[in-house]
Structures are given as C-alpha cells and as structure tokens.
Symmetry: C2
C-alpha cells in the first residue's frame, strides 16, 4: 500500500482520496501518484498545462483540480500513432492518457508528483481547446474585464481555484462548529416582502397577484427572530442576501452571510459563541490560536482609532491634544472643534518631501483636511510646523502628553470633530502601511461594543437605527429613549479583524411595547408599523423569549483568510461594478409576453 | 459525572450537550436532567406547556426545543410571592425557574426527564403570552390557513419541530458524505439571465439597467457545467431554486435541491456516487441498509408499472394481454390500442360493491377510463365481466398468462396506449393502498435509466427536451437525431423511491457541435441559440471535460424520511397554494417611488 502525502487540500485520508480519484475514465487524479506507485499502469485525465519538446523526448504537464502530473513520450520508443496525437495537442486540450508510472530522471521537488512521470502508451483527445484569451497561470496576462467574461477560464488558475477551495472548507468548518454547539441550519424564504427601512430591495413581480411584488431578503432578520419565537433556540444559516445598492468597491448585489440567532441569551453568550467560531476557523485553517478577543466600546474605538472598525495590529492611537494646544494664540487650533495627534515612532527624521506627501494625503478630496501639522521630537531639538506660537518647552509638553519618545514624529490634524477623527483614522492606517505594520499574515480580532442605538440624519431630519430597528437599547438607557434618543446605547456589537468589519449583531427587543416605541422613535406611525411589521409585533404577543444574534460576512471572512483584498476573488461568479454578470450577460431584456404575464410594462427614462 | 441519555436528537455527546445547554439565562435545557442530577441547583427557561393544580401541589410542564421538565410548587412550602406569580402564568408564557432537582413521587417513564422534577425557589416571567389561536399539541385543533398565518406557533408543535430537525440532519449528512468524496460546495449566483426554455422564470427588474431584468435560477444547471469547464471536478450545492408555475399540490415556488456535477465520468459513476449518498442517509438516519438499487429502463418501467416513477414496494406488475384477448369478437378489446391487466392476489372474492368502487375509481375524470373489466379466478369456476365472448378455457389462459393463482382477481383496462398505461398505474397504486402494500416505513429505491431524449408536443408541433437541452444522447443513437428524433435515448436517469421521483440527472453534452445540433432539433435558430446560450457554447470551445450530474429534490427527500406526504411540513416558512406567504402577507404592493426607480409601471389586467 502506497501511503498518501498531501495529495489535495480537501481529502484527509487514503480511503477518501481513492474515492475522489476513481471514475470510469481515470484510475488516479493528477495530484496522487508518488515514487511508491512506480510500475503501476494508470489512466489519467486532465488539461494540458504545457507541452515541451526537447528533441528526443516530449513532455506534457497534465493538470486537474488535484495537481499536475508529467506525461512522457519518447520519439523513438512511443508508438507513432500516439506521437501524431501529441503533435495535434495544444494548451488546455482535454486528454486521457494511459501508461506506466516511472521514476523521473530529474526530479522536481516543488511538485508533490515531482518524483515520477507517466510513460504513455495510449492517448485520447477528449476535447479540443481554442487558444485561451489569456494565460492560465499563477499570474495571468488577462485584464479584469476579459477575465470576468471568461470566468470559467480564470477559475482554472491556481489562485482562484484555491480561493474557492478555501471557501468550501470555511463553510464546512462553520457548519461543523455550529452543529456541534446545538445550532440547527434552517432555510428561510427568498421570496419575501419589501420594507422601506434599510437599503433598497430587489423586487420580483408576482404573476398570480397583479400589481404585487415579492422582495429578495437583505437578510433573514425577521425570520430568524420568528424562529426564536417558534422555540428553535439556536439557528444558523449560510445564506445569500441581496441589496440593490450603487456598488462601491468590494460590494456585490448578492452576498453571503453566516446568519445566527440564539434564545435565552445575553450579549456575553453571543460573543463567546462566535468568538469560538472564529477561533475554530483560525485553528483549523491556519493553526493560529488566539487569547480572548479584546472588547472596546464604540466610544473608545472612536477616541483611540477614529473609527468603529479599528485595525489593532499596531498602536499609534489617537491623542486628543485640544486642551493643551488651544489658547496659545494659534488661530487654526483655536478655531478647531478638536485637535488630534498620533505619534509615528522613529520618524522625526522624515524629509520635507515625505511630510509633503502626507500633507497631500490628508488634503485629498476623500479626506478633505486643509493641512497637516507636525512636531519633530529629535535628540537635539524639537521643531514643529507651528513654531511661531509655541515655545520648545510647550512643544515638548505636547510630545510628552502623547507619549512620544525622542526620535518620533507627532502628526497633528485639527478641525470639525467628526471629520477630523475620520481623517486621523485614515492617516493612522496610511502610516501603518508605510511602516509595514499591517501584514496580511497577522490577525488582530476585537469586539466593538456599546454602539449608539440611533443616528440622527440631518437630511431627512429623523433618527435611523444604527444597527436595525430590532436592536434592544441598554436597560439603563431605556428612559432616555423619549428624552434624549441620541444618548441611548444599544446591546449591539461588531466583530472587527484587521480593520475590517467581519460581522455584527445585537440582543433584540422581545417586548411588543418596546418594539412599538422603537418604531415610533424612528418616525413610523402606528399604522405604518402595523402594515410593515405587524406580523412581527403580533408574534411578540405569544411568548417571545429573550434572544440575540449575529451575522457575519462570509465573503469577507474568505477574503480575510485568503489574504487578498477583493471579495470578488472568493465568489465563483461575481458581478462587476455595474452589477452585471459579464459572462452570461445579465441582466438582459425579456420578452413582451413575459412582461404581459407579469402585468408590468417598462418606462424607459426620458 | 452524570451520563447523558438521549437528551436531544442532534447532540451526540456530553460535551456538546453541555455547550448547547448553558447560556447566561439557564444552566440546563428542559431535556437534560436525570435521576443522577438530584440535589443540583438549576436554572431552566422555556415555555409553559401546561399547568396543573392538584390541591396542595401545582405542577408546570416547562418546554423548550430539547424537552419538557416538570416544575413543582407546594402551596404550604413554596414562598407566597412565587405562588402569586404561578397564579398569573398561562399557556405559552416564557418563564425562568430556579430550584432544586428532586426525585418524582410518581415517575413518568415516557419522558426522558420523567424521573425528576424541580422544586422551584425563584420564578420570573420573561414574557407573557396571549392565548394561542390553536393548541400547541401533537394534534392541533387549528385549520390549515390559521396555522400558516401563525406559522411561528405551529412550528412549536412537536411534529413540525422534529421535521425541521430532521431536515437539518439530512443536510448535514449530505454535506458530510459529499465533502468526504471530494465534492466542493460552490455557490452559484441567484441573479442570472432569463431563458425561455423550460418553466417560467421569476424575474427581477434592474434599476441600474433600465428595461433589463435578472431571472432567479430554476436550477444552477449552466453554472455547474461551467464549473466543470473550470476544472472543479466535483461540485455540489444545497441550493434554493425558483419556478413561477401554477402550483399543483405539493409544489412550492421556491424549493431546495441537492445539486451535483462530476467530471470525467460515465453514467455508472454518477449512479454509484448518489446511490452511496442515499444509502448513507438511510444508514445514519434510520439504520436501514440496502443492497444495490435495481435499475430498469424507462421502457420497462412504463411496460411493467405504467409510469416512469414506479412504486416497487409491491409487485402487481402490468401484463399486456392484447395479443391473447383480441380477435375474439369482443368489440371493446378489438377496438383498443392496448389491453392491460394486473393480478390482485386473493381478491377473487371481491364483492360486486368492491368492484363497482374500483370501476368508479378508474372512471374519475382525472383517470378517464370508460370501464373496468375483470376475471375472478376461483377454485370452482372462472368468471369474468365479459363471459359472453370467451370460453372458461380462454379466460383461464388469460389468467395464467398473467401468472394469476387460484383465488386472484385480474383487473383489465383497455383503450388508447398512453392513457391506459397511466390509468393502470393509478389502479395498481390504488390496489397497493387497499391491500396495505405501501407502508411509509418500507423503502424501495430504484434507478430508471435510458429515458427518451425528446418528447413531441402536439400543441406547439415541436420536440422538447425530456430532461433538459444539455442532456447527451446515447452514442449509438446520435445518428437518429436527424432522422428519427423520437427514438433517440438519452444518458439520463431518475432516482425513484416509493413511487416518488427523488431526483434526476444525465451525462451532459460536452461538444459544441452536438450542443448546437441539439438546439437545432429543439427548433432554435442559430441566432436564438447564440443569444441565449452563447456563453455556454463559447465555453465549450475551451476544453470542456466529459461530465454529468444529478439534482435531488431536498424537500421531497425530507418528506420521504419524515414519512408524511406534504413537503410543506418540512419547510419552515412555506407559501400556500396561491404562492402567498400567509404569515408576512407577501407578495404585496410596493411604492410608486420603487416602481419609478425600477423603470416599470403596472398594467392591471382589464
């Protein structure tokens, strides 16, 4: 018996590998054969990765999902009819080769099958291939659009193939963990009801009910809450969700989430359970172990990092220096709502040019600051961009307030509170990048808790739910709901890893009265509430347990584990920025008969 | 340590059970405590199943997903404040109870927790409940419509709860088996392109592309084939599919299928792999083992059972007696295209009334026969409904031709071939029911193979693909495609269990030319083909491997394993016969702003 090394990433023992390998058309996969298989007669199938003609010998690298195996043909020995077939074969042809496993003369230690090759004695072309429009290699020469159109060819490339395999494993391990913790995977409907709150719905006209529409779910939120009302105790689903949004970078109109809900829980239960899930995924996929994830409040996250999605792979936290810099006659600071500083270690020696670059960075329209101030805290002297107004002692005092060490550079932004914190967060991340503190192989998870319940919107002059309208306020803040809604904190939490929001959730409202109050605070009349969420309020009358949950962005988790930026690379058939499937060319027009059946007609924009 | 008996159906060992049980609000579930837990102080949460007041003692049955535990209150001993709370509590209230586990005086052997009860010393009402509109019991008094509207209450009932748990386990075991066999679960898009072939699509208007629509997939057929082009070798997905059909009994506009595809395979590979899956599910769920599933051809299925979905839990196969009964002067038989007979064992003694009932059965409009003939093959004499035309010897010859034994009843139908086979199939099933040969606890799977590739449709005067346009014809029949399309057999197969089509699949076409020919046979012009399936034909130019697959109806599998008829009972939130979600009241109208954004307006039928 030939022991199996790491033949594939998804098969875990010999028995399984054998099962995966054997079909009527092949005896082994292209990732399977080893030195101990020498002498065996085998049949392999796959794609021609490349063909090399070295005078007397021709080699073909045969590729399938499981690996690459070298086929060998000798011009003097191999049957002439076979050589004629070899001659016809080009890149990406699908072939079947029978032959004997022999030891290679020059081995390839980089390839699991690199010790052997196949001396071919039978060869069949199963299908021909036109020349692909780009190379099927680790790094391809194809542009984005071309690769989207020929996605089935792009997916043949090793990096994309591995992404899809990674996604499979992450889904499998997620299900395993949740199943073992008593969660039931329960499917919720896709054809539901449109609600105006939240993002824009995709809708589906009903043929049987003229003038009526289903909506595709933005999340199974109300259904999972109804499952808790139904007593299912622990629910999960890896489920497609839909949002008809103008696509920003790295958004898809359809995306996948790990959706979960638990009954008879407090916030701590949900956090522990899903911290456990993330730890399980890191252990099984990367063999990385974590201590307990840190927890910081929303308030603290904003004050220290300028964002509710802090990247804590590095420090460089924000200092509010308003109090010590204001009132010294420097108008720019004195007229600012807030003055913030970060300390860049060992950067006092930055050149004028480097600092100009950073100034340009914060002046970009996306960030919109009017300038960048700094203090160089060097061995000999302390210098700043605003020396006129502050004595060296005062500058030193500022530097020390920020815990700067000699040799550090203090970067300072000032202005409107919200904008300046946001800008400082961007500048901090930029400095993290410049100093190499944001390695994709380092993972720093944390929980951000105690989010505000509501956000005021100036444009529509009303409050919006920061999370969603079903999130419960903290008990001690409920009384503020009617007097000072902006101050109410929610039992809401986000999981953030490396500055990316991986998921979020909350303990839900389970009292009918409180839910009605919440809708009222959000500006719904009782009638509107009844029409849109009546079924949920009604359900709350029949013994709803305390419950809470979380939803994790599965596409984003895959990208995080894969170590590249775009979620598109982890979706087999993604849409482009215009929400279009370039491969099948969707959306597309439909027939007039279809429109008639659906009782709709098109109003082209004038 | 207290060993755990069968606390729940989904948890397999102590560790897991403990994990599933413990939350901040409870120490144990209501299905967990045993005699060895006596003396423990515990906190339980759940719903009040019932309250019994027996003078000095009050009992409450507390229910959660995991079981029922009895709470006990003594009027003289229990704190008065607690008794006052008990007094307020009604059915379906959500409560939290702390207390001590004690041994019951009169044990309940039917309940896993029946040896113990909880002497309560702290009681909290977590939520009240209005009186449910129907009883939350094994058998409820609620009508179908009411239960659909309050689905979250209906789901609290034990039978529905168990169905949803069963579904979870079947999905889990399906994934486990396929993962272990090298299949990757790969998600395919939901927003795809409408194609006129097949059933009616649900469509989704595009906001970004005025006048254009996405379609929801009827199945991921083309995508899974493209995954084979991409080299993924073995794909599966448990995936929602959509069909906008007029709903017959037991159809849903959205349904779930186990969708699979394999590369470098022949029919035998697919059959073996998925026979393995079904065996795995029966072994793990029911501890039933099967021999190899029988295989019969479509032709044979029709001839022996009158249907391509034969129930082979019992014999009573169809005999074509045309040759031996025709030409004897009996006009009805002589004018019939076909005369068919089944032998009902030990039914010669059927009364006139019983036979009249069967005659009425075949004359029902759904079946539409004009009458039923019979032969009673008794000990003393042989009698028939058409004695005038046949001698007793001739009758006996007919009976013996059908392998009738003395005491049997031969039932005979005659008429048009297609209709008579169908009617005989119905009559056979009816007799199976009457004789108790169709127990839901007996399972008889089989493969039906060699389906015809095409079906002629009289109305539209064209051929349709019996399976779908991507199914490959048998090699030896390809030449008939242009000369005699109706005779071409397909590499297509169905899995049938107990007369229910559980799934079907085929070896696909992987040659561009053959696929184009197939579209032409189906009446597509080259232009139409290009517009609708151009992406697939184009993909076939780049090295498509031989491939095939199957799709299994997951809702139906659940119903089969659950042993009841309707798939609705296995879907958490099903639609009714009018494709309406009664609970959330969808579909519904949407706002004029939404319509405008989507560039559509409504055409109400006049």
């Amino acid at each position: 018996m030939c022991p199996i090394k790491d033949v594939t990433t998804i098969t875990e023992n010999k028995k399984i590998t054998t099962l995966a390998a054997k079909n009527m058309l092949r005896t082994h996969t292209c990732g399977e054969l080893r030195i101990c298989d020498i002498g065996k007669n085998v049949t392999l199938t796959g794609w021609v990765q490349r063909k090399r003609d070295k005078g007397n010998i021709i080699w073909i690298d045969l590729r399938d999902r499981f690996g690459i195996t070298q086929l060998m043909f000798e011009k003097n020995k191999t049957d002439n009819s076979i050589l004629q077939i070899v001659d016809k074969i080009g890149r990406e042809y699908v072939i079947l080769a029978k032959g004997t496993v022999i030891e290679r003369e020059s081995k390839n230690p980089k390839l699991p099958t690199g010790d052997i090759e196949i001396q071919v004695n039978e060869l069949v072309i199963l299908n021909e291939s036109a020349t692909p429009p780009f190379t099927i290699d680790e790094n391809t020469d194809g542009g984005e659009d071309l690769r989207m159109k020929y996605r089935y060819l792009d997916l043949r490339r090793q990096p994309l193939k591995q992404n899809i395999e990674l996604r499979h494993r992450l889904a499998r391990e997620t299900r395993k963990y949740l199943d073992q913790n008593g969660f039931l995977e329960i499917e919720t409907p896709f054809l539901i009801k449109s609600t105006p709150e939240g993002a824009r719905d995709f809708v589906v006209p009903s043929r049987l009910h003229p003038g009526e529409f289903y909506a595709l779910p933005q999340s199974p939120q109300t259904f999972k809450q109804l499952l808790m009302v139904a007593g299912f105790d622990r629910y999960f689903q890896i489920v497609r969700c839909f949002r008809d949004e103008d696509l920003r970078a790295d958004r898809q109109p359809e995306f996948t989430q790990i959706d979960c809900e638990m009954s008879f829980v407090e916030q701590e239960d949900v956090l522990n359970m899903f911290e456990g899930l993330i730890k399980h995924l890191f252990t099984t996929e990367k063999n990385i172990k974590f201590d307990d994830f840190p927890k910081i409040t929303y308030q603290e996250a904003i004050e220290k990092y300028g964002t509710d999605k802090p990247d804590i792979r590095f420090g460089m936290t924000i200092n509010n220096i308003s109090k010590i810099v204001q009132g010294k006659g420097f108008q720019i600071f004195d007229n600012s709502e807030v003055i913030l500083a970060i300390v860049v270690p060992q950067a006092a020696s930055y050149t004028r040019k480097q600092i100009d670059e950073l100034t340009e960075f914060v002046k970009r329209p996306q960030i919109g600051m009017s300038g960048l101030a700094y203090i160089r805290y060097s061995n000999n002297e302390i210098k700043s961009s605003f020396d006129k107004f502050y004595s060296p002692d005062e500058l030193k005092q500022i530097a020390l307030f920020c815990n700067a060490q000699i040799g550090d550079l203090v970067l300072i932004l000032s202005g409107n509170r919200k904008k300046t914190y946001k800008a400082m967060s961007e500048l901090r991340l930029e400095m993290g990048n410049r100093l190499g503190l944001r390695s994709p192989n380092v993972y720093a998870p944390l929980w951000v808790v105690d989010f505000p319940l509501l956000e005021w919107d100036d444009e529509t002059q009303r409050y919006y739910a920061m999370h969603h309208p079903f999130t419960s306020p903290k008990k001690e803040d409920i009384s503020l709901l009617k007097t000072n809604p902006a101050q109410v904190r929610a039992n809401a939490y986000d999981l953030v890893i490396n500055g990316i929001e991986i998921g979020g959730g909350s303990i839900r409202i389970h009292s009918r009265e409180l839910q009605q109050t919440m809708f009222n605070v959000l500006g719904f009349t009782n009638e509107e509430t009844q029409q849109q969420f009546g079924f949920l309020l009604h359900a709350f009358e029949f013994g709803t347990p305390p419950h809470g949950g979380i939803a994790l962005g599965f596409d984003r988790i895959c990208a995080l584990f894969g170590g590249t930026e775009s979620i598109r690379d982890y979706i087999a058939f993604p849409k482009n920025q215009a929400a279009r499937d370039m491969m099948i060319d969707a959306p597309s027009t439909i027939s007039i008969e279809q429109l008639n059946e659906l009782h709709i007609q098109i109003n082209y924009p004038s």
